[in-house]
């Protein structure tokens, strides 16, 4: 996941290095560092924006390590999913256990169903649904859709997925 963090450094030498070391120690991947040396917070510290990628498990370690070094953290913003996909399902979506369908995607750990719109015109008529799936990467999105197609086959649901060039796999 990608983490964006606003930290505050004391205006003494070596502070930036101290702040970045935990990120590399816990195998994070630095994306950008913006060091506002000309600015000062009301507390007299220097604001720095750091963006990095890391595994969710390591984020706590990085935070505690920063706190041990007495580096102030003003804001943390984490974003786990970068890829957004949409698919349409047609068939007896609810009666074939919609919860189970959604859980299968959610339980992957790399993708989640984040939105569902359902249209049920008449009893016993096939329903239609649009599903939005978020995933950590393009490859994960593609495999989440493949997984959905496998479940759908068992439940006799039709899956309409985006064209290949839209999935970016070409």
């Amino acid at each position: 996941m990608r983490v964006s963090m606003d930290i505050e450094l004391k205006d003494i030498p070596g502070q930036l290095l101290l702040a970045l070391r935990p990120v590399s120690e816990f195998k994070g991947n630095l994306i950008s560092v913006v060091h506002h040396h000309e600015k000062r917070t009301p507390r007299g510290t220097i604001p720095v924006q750091v963006v990095f990628e890391t595994k969710p498990d390591n984020l706590c370690n990085i935070i505690s390590s920063l706190e041990e070094s007495e580096i102030g953290i003003a804001r943390i913003d984490e974003k786990r999913y970068f890829e957004h996909g949409a698919v349409i399902l047609i068939g007896h979506i609810v009666h074939t256990d919609i919860q189970d369908t959604i859980d299968t995607i959610d339980n992957t750990g790399y993708a989640e169903v984040v939105d569902l719109n359902l249209s049920m015109p008449k009893i016993k008529m096939p329903s239609s649904a649009s599903l939005k799936i978020d995933a950590v990467s393009k490859e994960h999105l593609a495999s989440a859709i493949e997984l959905l197609k496998e479940i759908a086959k068992k439940k006799d649901l039709l899956v309409i997925e985006p064209i290949k060039s839209e999935l970016g796999a070409v």
């Binding site: 047609i90 249209s119 015109p121 649009s130 039709l158 985006p162």
Partner: protein
């Protein structure tokens, strides 16, 4: 002036279109030094043969008024076997179970060293390898642009115009009937059955629409693409197919709300040949409406190349046949 003696075997919409464009384009053909002399025309019941050149205008008129081309009880196959000529234009109806009369006609033409230009998908989707081998063994030229996407240039574009590029993926809409039905279902928020009926009334869909709406027609075109552009040796059994009959107006509306249209998309690449309804972003080049066809190729050097055009129609399909004929004999 180079004279090419031609037979037109099959005189439905496409065969008649070929006759008409040969008539209409006479001055142009003269100007490039080609004289297309049609020596025989056959439909499913009758034939007309004239070694000095058949009067195409008269044949077109007779077909229209009497429903036949002539008075001779000779089959297309017999014409190909016995009449001396250079080119067979094979425009008989497609049969994807046996390859139909088309397959026999083509093999007979090759046996006698004649060139073949065709719009007939069946034989190519069934017996691509055999046809290519036989034509090559007999030194016959064999062109079939009209089988994929009607007027829209796909095969010649990939093989000639984009020569040197490796094509990694082709995606597109190759069936105007399905495109029409899906476009209209979205516009009218109407069920599939209703828009199929409308398409049938307008002549865009056959009385038995299975071949189009179940994706079989698209699959045949993909097989030809896969074989001729990707160098595979596939038949229509190698294609995974999902048709459009289960699509609901609600699904189209939900897709629309998310910024997509639903289209029956054919896709070919090294790993698969697939026909299925897919979501196409409304601003994507593949999102064409009505009866249009479209193909987008991912090329190694040129990036994506997209062409769109009419996938069917008498004169439109004849256009692809004419360009194949000219490309064989213009030198």
């Amino acid at each position: 002036m180079r004279t090419i003696r031609i037979s037109i075997i099959g005189f439905g919409a496409v065969g008649q279109g070929v006759a008409r464009v040969i008539l209409d384009k006479k001055d142009y053909l003269d100007s490039i030094g080609l004289d297309f002399k049609v020596v025989a025309v056959a439909d499913s019941r009758t034939a007309v043969i004239d070694h000095d050149g058949v009067d195409l205008a008269a044949v077109l008129f007779r077909k229209k008024t009497e429903g036949k081309v002539g008075f001779e009880k000779v089959t297309g196959l017999e014409i190909i076997e016995n009449i001396d000529h250079e080119l067979v234009v094979e425009t008989t109806p497609t049969n994807i179970v046996t390859g139909g009369a088309g397959l026999k006609n083509m093999l007979m033409a090759f046996k006698h060293g004649r060139d073949v230009v065709t719009s007939n998908k069946g034989p190519l989707a069934m017996k691509y390898g055999e046809l290519m081998e036989t034509s090559a063994a007999n030194g016959s030229k064999f062109k079939f642009e009209a089988t994929v996407g009607g007027a829209m240039p796909v095969l010649n574009l990939a093989r000639d115009v984009l020569a040197g590029n490796k094509i990694t993926n082709v995606e597109g809409i190759f069936n105007g009937t399905c495109n029409y039905i899906l476009t209209r279902m979205m516009e009218e928020h109407a069920p599939y059955e209703q828009m199929l009926a409308e398409a049938q009334e307008l002549g865009y869909a056959e009385t038995d629409p299975t071949y189009d709406v179940e994706g079989i027609d698209t699959a045949c075109k993909l097989v030809i693409l896969a074989n001729s552009v990707f160098g595979m040796n596939a038949t229509h059994e190698d294609v995974t197919i999902t048709g459009i009959t289960k699509i609901t107006p609600e699904a189209l509306l939900l897709a629309q709300n998310d910024g997509y249209v639903i289209k029956l998309i054919g896709e070919v690449n090294d790993s698969r040949i697939n026909v299925a309804p897919k979501l196409v972003p409304t601003d994507h080049p593949l999102a064409v409406g009505g009866t249009l066809n479209v193909a987008s190729m991912q090329t190694e050097l040129a990036g994506p190349i997209t062409v769109t055009g009419r996938g069917a129609g008498s004169i439109e399909t004849a256009s692809a046949i004419l360009s194949d004929i000219i490309s064989i004999y213009r030198e």
